[in-house]
Symmetry: D3
Subunit: 279 residues, 6 copies
């Protein structure tokens, strides 16, 4: 009977591909749950609306394939409609309010708390979600006791990354890196002829108020003109995309390995689920 529930009945490491009973039996304290978080939002004239979703999905799947057994990774369904309000000015963008997105994350956290895993990773490829997911990590932690983590597989300059040299730290949306990754992963969905350069170099006159600067600012993507792109998509290549994908995947692997062994010195001090402040 119990043999019926062994991991061998698992076809893939996607939760959606697996029966509930198999998932329940296979997931243990050492398992790591991954929620890929994408977006459906304008990415200029050359990249598809689902760019962030494709990226989140690709990184999660590649992680599961290459080191899923090592780290016992389980991939949940990718969220394709998230908080893209900075692109709400563009037809085609689908977006959730901050409230609905936060509720969604809380409820996914509550749902997975029934499984045996202790660790939940939010794998996010859409920068506009980051602040909210930071909030969600703590909310889920407190509500469920799960250890929660937030990973961005690609780090643009507004997330502490370096970005492509030719964008001088001003490329954060639909530019060299994202376009190259899509050329590598889904070349059929990229129309490089429609790519443009829209690098806000004028931002160079600011030291603090800039992407990754010490002063945050509440922008929307049309603040940077009508192109929709913030970066230089014309310089993208599939080769750079492949290189970048592999490099990011290695960093992701390192991060997830740390997640796997991460613990507070005395795990007994971990908070129990919050019953008093649930509302």
């Amino acid at each position: 009977m119990t043999t019926a529930h062994t991991p061998s009945r698992r076809a893939t490491r996607r939760l959606a591909d697996t029966p509930a009973t198999v998932v329940d039996a296979a997931i243990t304290e050492r398992s790591i749950l991954i929620v890929p978080i994408g977006a459906t939002e304008q990415h200029g004239d050359h990249l598809p609306l689902g760019t962030d979703t494709f990226l989140a999905q690709s990184f999660a799947d590649a992680a599961a394939e290459r080191f899923g057994d090592e780290l016992d990774l389980w991939v949940l369904p990718t969220l394709a409609v998230t908080k893209s309000d900075e692109h709400a000015w563009s037809a085609g963008t689908l977006w959730l309010s901050a409230d609905t997105m936060l509720s969604t994350m809380r409820e996914i956290g509550n749902s997975v708390a029934m499984l045996g895993a202790r660790k939940l990773v939010l794998l996010n490829s859409h920068g506009g979600n980051s602040g909210l997911l930071d909030v969600a990590c703590r909310e889920i932690r407190r509500a469920t006791g799960l250890q929660t983590f937030l990973v961005h597989p690609v780090l643009p300059p507004d997330h502490g990354g370096h970005g492509a040299d030719d964008e001088h730290g001003f490329g954060i949306h639909g530019g060299i890196d994202e376009t190259s990754l899509m050329l590598h992963l889904h070349p059929d969905l990229v129309d490089l002829d429609a790519a443009v350069r829209n690098v806000p170099e004028w931002m160079g006159e600011y030291e603090h108020v800039r992407f990754g600067g010490t002063v945050g600012f509440g922008w929307t993507s049309d603040d940077f003109g009508p192109a929709g792109v913030i970066g230089d998509a014309t310089l993208a290549t599939a080769e750079h995309g492949e290189h970048l994908f592999e490099a990011c995947l290695r960093t992701l692997a390192d991060g997830l390995r740390e997640v796997a062994r991460f613990d507070f010195p005395d795990s007994a001090s971990a908070p129990s689920p919050d019953l008093t402040h649930d509302l």
Copy 2:
């Protein structure tokens, strides 16, 4: 310049595969937007958690492929985590509260209202969503002026369908029909050895309080025992699945063709978006 925005730049009929600018140019008054709505919920020991998501996705994709050009169909990203509270007792089920699910639908409605389409179809494969999506259809209609439609590609007995003969009207979850469809569409994800029969034949003693009866009742799936299945998965076959899929698809085509030509006699009487009662 405008040539860059012609529909020829569209790779598929999935919104996520297409740039915002292309979508914006291609979608017109005659376009029909489709939101496939699945679920991630227990389906017994033999079917994967994502069964409903696979079904919604398959029907939407097949519709787009076979009569997408005829009806100018556009497929939005499939919702994979929805209102599955009747399966919340099972580890592995991921679910949204009614409030979050309704907000999600409203916000998708608001988002697509920027496009040029006049019609939005919710293509739902998870019965537990039906009441809420009925509410959402009216909410979106009133908030945006869009004509909204709700389609269930497979009609189980609790949705007015006949169901498989061998289940006598008592098969609604993970039984002959769903299992057969999955055997047809994703045989690698079905473990037929684990299939069981759990047909609540005792319900036959009720005329009104039964699936599809005149008296609704608020059940959860463990009311019918621990199997998770409500139906007879053991009788499923790929052949039946293929037959059923094609039959459902024909009905779906008929329904969508009616959606395409549907209009109220004097279209000028359509309500303008509701500004006074937004809250």
Copy 3:
């Protein structure tokens, strides 16, 4: 002392007519609680705004009077302001948002869970509430453990009923049946001189997108013209009303008798109130 709390101190079967202590003592596991749910919404030029409230109240009271002792029925206060957004275009309609209506139902559910009854019936006479009440049945079930039921004493064509012959399946609001019932129950409130025929026969060209069809659609009542009525009020008679009332009441009795004896085979499997997903 305990004699003071016997059912003999009950004047009627309305909760509101009875002291709390008497209610608490009289209501037991076999009692059935009924919440009549009406509406205050335009019903054309000939029927009063409270038509649905009168109907819900009349059926609930008649049920209590005729088979209240047999089934130990208890009638809660009738809800007179509910989700009538499809009639929001008309002055006089009073309506709650979906959110407020759902909260109202949840909180009534929470309130009655302190009583000794195990079964709660939502007796609804306003079609616009149905999807939401379907949601509420499950919400209350999960939050309180109560068995919940949803009954429509009159079944119009969009609820699976046949409707009056002369309306050919297109009469759902203020037509023959509702007008006749009101002529029977409250003739003083019906102005038959103002009755009109507004039967959307054009809908006959649709097989799927129609009342009771397989494709739902999010209409508002002014989609069918300015009359407010969807049906043929001119054919209503008090005789038909009386006949229909009695027939519906017999069906209601049958349904409630089933409710009274309804149970899942092993009642021990009934879910305990949901503590983890309360929000």
Copy 4:
């Protein structure tokens, strides 16, 4: 045609008794809308749960009957389930949360704003609603521009009234006054044999922290013992009830007459509906 819409088609002054078209034509700038607000909550062993609802309804109906034509009063459906959290400890009490009750009031305000009236009176018989209705008056005023008023037909000591002499200012729930009113209005629903005296005379040692004192306090009715009553029901008589009812009705008439002529000196300064802070 327009004659069909004259007030002569009005059967009563209850909105629910009247067609939407008739209401729309009859209600003008001088009309006063009244929302009777009751409760369903424990009132001790001798009074029915619906006591407050009966009182609100009776005062509203009597006002409509006696001076409805003079002041053009229109009575909306009585709210029977409201904010009775101070009695939530008792089985039989049905209650809404503060949030749902406030939403209900806002939405009723939004609904009636389509009518031609300028004045809305909340006629409240349940003290536990008062703070919230005070909030609602301003909310509705700002959202709709309606002039809003809050009237308590009976003023217990915690609302600035004197109360019955024999209760010394400590009778506020189910005591002499409420019981007497019910003996006058619905003697069949009062079980005077079950009446008790539960006057919190110990409160006499406080000058500030007491009903109607300068220091409010957040009590629940079981703070005063298990009786449910706060007052002395044993002294109630139908005669006192009749006398009190007539006296209160005269005061109500005076108040409503002031409402009818009330206006700010320069009515042009009335705020237009609030569009910027709707949320």
Copy 5:
């Protein structure tokens, strides 16, 4: 070790001035927690926006200084942005919606419930908060079991006070009393040259619909003209302010002394925190 946590380590009676560990050790069953509640709202041309905040803070601090040791008072941070919607028409007013203000109060209640105190006093100087704080007192009581109290250190005519003679009961905002108090407490922030008289004496023709009358009404401050003041600021003096402050403080002391000794006869009947109706 425990000596480190004695009250001697307390610098003041403000919670914010004290370490958590010290607070935790010092606060006991006899402690009284005080939340000063002000506002940031227009007060005419002569008083600063923070007038109510200064008043709430001053009364709380003076109470703590003069009888803080006697009554073991602890002062929480003053709330400076509250429900000032009646002044929302004026630039400079900062205000919370009723929903956010109520949530804020609930969450402060939840927060302090971890401390050892049994009593929480809301010390409110902004009349526009009163209805909502009345609701909050009961909410916090039910959610946490804390005894809650609501005190207005200055009682204007709409709160049952007498007000300044020269305002004849029509001075409630920025008039003699508030201006005098500010002249006493913060003379540098008062511009008496800009003071005006705006006493709505026309209200004298109403007996019921007036400040402190039996009929409440939902006003905004611009209903009384553009001055922002409702009263006569020109008559204010620092001497009156000092006198009034001292008188109010004595009354506040009396009230708090009652709070300190207040209890229901059998304290065991106090409700335990509400677990069933948390939402």
Copy 6:
């Protein structure tokens, strides 16, 4: 008359100290509004609960004093109760839920949008607010059109700062920097005898999962032991505090000067307030 409204009537640069009319006249397109955002939360055994509030207030006041005229700064009331859920385990912490905190920020944004300023700076001294304030910046921008900025006057290692050398990047709460600043600003409120060292040096074995690392994690402060401090308070000195305060203030001045001159190249592209997605 207009002279009465000149800036000369301003006593300070605090909004709360100034009449509404003066504020309205003085604030122009070049003004910068500052909301200081503190917290009331445990800071170990040696620092007061209000530490973050004191810091936010001190930086805002110093900025206003030293370069307020240069940049036309206006300081709003300091928020003292914010999102401190990571310290909710400790008595004395007062905290708002994410929902209430976000609503508060939105409503402050809505309130100030009536003033003439175009720029709003959130000056935050509590790290636990950062993700949420990042969300709020965009929300306010979209709802009101205001340019919004987020500044942290002190940058701990989890915010991209270096932190004190002796804490090796692991000091983020109540350690050298915060304690030193308080010794400089409010020495009377610091009990250095109670200071402890609690530096999570074990975190040094992680490269990604650490404060300021590429993998965020949802911690609560008791994850690091019961001390409440995360850092080494024993090494704090008033001298370091003074030095740090002045250095941070210079950086803040630089940041605010950039805010003052910041603009997008074509300011006409700034989004107008969002009317369609308000909910």
